[in-house]
């Protein structure tokens, strides 16, 4: 066997386990789920077939469609707010904090990452609840006369999400900023650009791909999250993941749950298509 052929065989051998694993536990399950989405339930049993009924239901049933709308709205708000809050934080750490302290500053900014995600969302409940820290503090200071109803609303969900994603985005945007050659800013200043002009014409455009990548990551993680809306969102509105989990609970309507999942994936794919121009997933 020629050397090239032998090398190729070795290559296949090395990559096969990973591919097989993903085939068995990612691709096939997804195909099964896709097929299931076209089935329907008849009294606790699944009847297979090609029936787009589930999809029709998702887009015509107001409760279901509203969940989709809620998810997209919340995710967009969270993404925008998180980017707007995280960018300055990352920039301050990268450009204002002295070099030797930057690692520490960054570590502190993402320290709460090390609480369990579930526990972190729960902590916001303690802060935003009727008897929580925020209300007790505002009441104590005399700034309000009755407790604010923040917990169990969309606001609480957004706050909970933003808290997490500001940390994530600070990390990714910082990594981006720090890679930038300092000579770009120097060249701009050298040619007469003031601080703001340097940022607007040079720094911002050069970091935009990294920001878009971070924003896309935020979008994907946020729209698919069940935990935060479930803990902080209350019962007045549902998000798509909550709706999906609901189908799992009641008598296990797998077909509908599958269809809802496919719709979720389509939304993510749409988001990818919109941001693909700036996206560089290999350089997160």
């Amino acid at each position: 066997m020629s050397l090239a052929a032998r090398e190729r065989r070795q290559g296949w051998g090395l990559i096969a386990p990973a591919l097989l694993w993903l085939l068995a536990f990612f691709l096939i399950p997804f195909a099964v789920m896709l097929a299931l989405s076209f089935a329907h339930m008849e009294e606790r049993t699944v009847v297979h077939g090609f029936d787009p009924g589930n999809y029709v239901r998702i887009f015509t049933d107001w409760t279901m469609f509203k969940a989709l709308v809620n998810s997209v709205e919340i995710t967009l708000i969270v993404t925008v707010v998180s980017v707007v809050l995280a960018y300055p934080l990352a920039a301050i750490i990268a450009f204002r904090v002295p070099r030797r302290w930057q690692r520490l500053a960054l570590l502190l900014a993402v320290l709460p990452f090390w609480t369990s995600y579930v526990v972190r969302s729960y902590s916001w409940l303690l802060v935003l609840g009727q008897n929580g820290v925020l209300n007790k503090a505002l009441l104590g200071l005399g700034l309000i006369s009755a407790p604010l109803e923040i917990a169990a609303t969309r606001t609480a969900t957004v706050i909970g999400f933003v808290h997490f994603f500001v940390m994530l985005l600070t990390l990714t945007i910082y990594a981006n900023l720090i890679q930038l050659s300092p000579n770009y800013a120097r060249a701009a200043q050298d040619l007469g650009a003031g601080r703001f002009q340097t940022f607007r014409h040079v720094i911002l455009p050069l970091t935009l791909p990294g920001v878009v990548t971070g924003a896309f990551l935020t979008f994907v993680l946020c729209i698919g999250d069940y935990i935060t809306p479930q803990i902080l969102g209350g019962n007045n509105e549902l998000t798509l993941p909550q709706l999906i989990m609901l189908q799992m609970g009641r008598g296990g309507n797998f077909p509908l749950a599958s269809a809802l999942s496919v719709v979720l994936m389509l939304v993510v794919t749409l988001a990818y298509a919109v941001s693909a121009r700036w996206l560089r997933l290999d350089r997160v």
Binding site: Y184, R186, A187, Q189, D190, L191, G192, A193, P205, L206
Partner: protein, 340 residues
């Protein structure tokens, strides 16, 4: 435009380390000055200080007679060509070159037109719409130059701009830089560690070492009549023979000297006595230890009979290739006496 640069008593300290130790330098308007020296000698620090990227611990910098203390790069009449060019990757070449003009408020059509003119000046006419990543290293370097010149600075600072280019390209760029400087008349301050490059382009060379200026002058002066041992050794190969008065390891030499000095002779200055002209310094006989053909000349080593442990390096014409062991009578045509 152009302006003179005056550096007075500049010191730069970083904690306990001294990067520049009392530097005084006067650069005339329109001069092409090269700061030459090994890594760490302070040449880049000095360049940064002129450009406003660093404030000296002590001392003053005046450009065109104006004190630049506290003035940032943005407001100085200088622009810099950086070592890594720092072309903005997200802008076209024309937009890059026009950037400084944009910052000065020039409107779009006017500044893009000027950008095209500058690109033509550096030999990249008509490529304004390309992006930096589409260009080779040499081409990027020219765009960086065009960008820096577009705003018509009084002083252009170049931080080892030719370092990343291969030899042939470097030689071509050296000629172009010189030609462009003559054309625009701007004061150029160029940093390099390559002495051949310095000699090729400089009106005056400033030899630096360990934060101090060791030597200063036109290339010819600095090469043939170096003012310090360091400068002599840095500018090229040199033979160093310690002397005390008129006596040396080679025997008595007709130097007219009465102190402890080092006799420095360039290899191309030593030749067989019979080929030397009158007025040359007789060095005595020596045994050839090796001789190799170097294209334009033959490079040979010889051990003097009077001091066999010493090695003299010298050049011979292409046609003369002696064998090891042959004895030659050597003489020096030019030489300098320097403090040890």
């Amino acid at each position: 435009m152009t302006a003179p640069v005056s550096i007075r008593g500049v010191r730069q300290r970083y904690g306990t380390a001294t990067a520049l130790d009392h530097v005084d330098l006067e650069i005339a308007a329109g001069e092409f000055v090269v700061l030459l020296g090994p890594s760490g000698c302070g040449k880049t620090t000095l360049l940064n200080i002129i450009g406003g990227f660093a404030e000296p611990t002590e001392g003053q910098v005046l450009i065109g007679g104006r004190d630049m203390g506290g003035v940032g790069p943005k407001d100085r009449p200088t622009t810099t060509v950086f070592q890594d060019y720092a072309l903005f990757p997200h802008m076209s070449l024309a937009e890059n070159v026009a950037f400084g003009l944009r910052m000065r408020g020039m409107e779009k059509t006017a500044r893009l037109k000027k950008a095209e003119e500058m690109l033509a000046l550096v030999g990249l006419a008509g490529r304004g719409t390309r992006r930096p990543h589409e260009l080779s290293g040499g081409q990027r370097q020219r765009v960086a130059l065009a960008r820096a010149l577009a705003v018509e600075p009084d002083v252009l600072l170049l931080d080892e701009p030719l370092g990343a280019l291969d030899l042939k390209l470097r030689r071509a760029m050296q000629d172009e830089l010189k030609a462009i400087q003559r054309r625009v008349g701007t004061t150029f301050v160029h940093v390099t560690h390559d002495q051949e490059e310095a000699m090729a382009i400089a009106d005056r060379i400033v030899v630096m070492n360990a934060g101090k200026i060791e030597d200063l002058g036109p290339p010819r002066e600095v090469y043939l009549r170096p003012k310090s041992l360091f400068s002599a050794g840095f500018m090229g190969e040199i033979n160093r023979i310690p002397v005390n008065g008129d006596s040396s390891a080679l025997g008595p030499l007709a130097l007219g000297n009465d102190r402890e000095k080092v006799l420095c002779i360039r290899p191309e200055s030593i030749r067989p006595a019979e080929l030397a002209n009158g007025g040359s310094l007789q060095l005595g006989r020596a045994t050839i230890t090796d001789a190799s053909f170097f294209g334009t000349h033959v490079r040979a080593h010889a051990a003097p009979l009077a001091a066999p442990e010493m090695q003299l390096v010298f050049h011979l014409p292409q046609s003369v290739l002696p064998a090891p062991g042959e004895i030659v009578d050597l003489a020096a045509m030019t030489w300098v006496l320097l403090d040890p």
